[in-house]
């Protein structure tokens, strides 16, 4: 459950929270895709670096490649700045495009 890096350890929950915080700040992202038990975030630990896989639901009306690029940049920067662990790859799967009109009508 825990990530090792040199002389300190970082719990995966910490990484997940950092990822969530970064994504929450991006306008075009609606949410992380929720699976049966948890959200779709996979952290792959390597010796001194990590890879992240995310499943996202984006908002309609945004240019998806731009949102994805923003998400990759922000998550990478947040983790590297806060934890000092290099992030080599952030793989993203878009699982849905949320219609905001429908949400507004529903709410």
């Amino acid at each position: 459950m825990e990530e090792k890096k040199k002389n300190y350890r970082v719990d995966k929950k910490v990484v997940i929270n950092l990822v969530k915080n970064s994504l929450a700040k991006i306008e075009g992202i609606y949410s992380l895709k929720k699976n049966l038990w948890r959200e779709e975030i996979k952290i792959k630990e390597k010796e001194t670096e990590m890879e992240i896989e995310l499943g996202l639901i984006v908002k309609e009306g945004c240019y998806i490649p731009q949102i994805v690029q923003q998400a990759q940049k922000d998550v990478k920067e947040e983790i590297e700045k806060t934890l000092g662990i290099p992030v080599t790859k952030i793989n993203i799967r878009i699982r849905g495009i949320k219609s905001l009109k429908r949400t507004n009508q529903g709410g």
């Binding site: 890879e51 309609e60 009306g61 945004c62 240019y63 998806i64 490649p65 994805v68 690029q69 990759q72 940049k73 990478k76 790859k89 952030i90 793989n91 993203i92 799967r93 878009i94 699982r95 849905g96 495009i97 219609s99 429908r102």
Partner: protein, 183 residues
């Protein structure tokens, strides 16, 4: 899901059904127990029948293990990849189809849209089946649907090349006189 997978699913379901019915018939004694005992004895004693049964039920066991994976593969396998230097980016075909259906329904004159896509090396093919209202010219409506879908795929999802948007009109709906008056 491919055709052979559908056939395997049908085989699996039929076998499950037969086993269930057989078990119920034995429990309710519609099939006498001595028949079952006789069959089992034959299986035990006849080498050839025993071997065939082993192969057949081995196949069913393999089927029981394999079939759940066909669902998993289908869920995971249908993604459209976008180019990105910072990592792999994929969009599920389901998300794209739902999106196309939603924007299609927003076009005036369209009642319902069913969409499917086929990504290829030369570009993405989109297949739409429409239910439309009998108002205005249908060729013009189809043209509008094709242009709108193409533009949205390009401007929202980032699909650079949409090769073709094939449209099939499945139904034309007529408004009742009362509805027109209300409108």
């Amino acid at each position: 899901m491919r055709i052979y997978q559908k056939i395997l699913w049908v085989i699996g379901i039929v076998v499950l059904g037969i086993l269930s019915v057989g078990t119920i018939l034995v429990i309710t004694e519609v099939i006498p127990r001595f028949v079952i005992i006789g069959v089992l004895t034959t299986l035990h004693e006849e080498m050839m029948i025993s071997l065939i049964s082993f192969i057949v039920f081995g196949f069913f066991l393999g089927l029981a293990i394999y079939l759940p994976f066909t669902l998993k593969r289908e869920e995971d396998g249908v993604f459209v990849s976008l180019k990105n230097p910072q990592g792999e980016v994929e969009i599920s075909q389901k998300a794209i189809c739902e999106f196309i259906q939603r924007i299609g329904k927003e076009i005036k004159g369209v009642e319902d849209v069913k969409a499917s896509i086929k990504p290829g090396e030369e570009g993405m093919d989109v297949f739409l089946s429409l239910s439309t209202w009998a108002e205005g010219e249908i060729p013009r409506l189809i043209d509008e649907v094709q242009t709108t879908v193409k533009n949205y795929l390009n401007q929202t999802i980032g699909v650079e090349s949409v090769r073709e948007v094939k449209v099939k009109v499945n139904r034309i709906l007529y408004k009742k006189e009362g509805d027109e008056k209300k409108a």
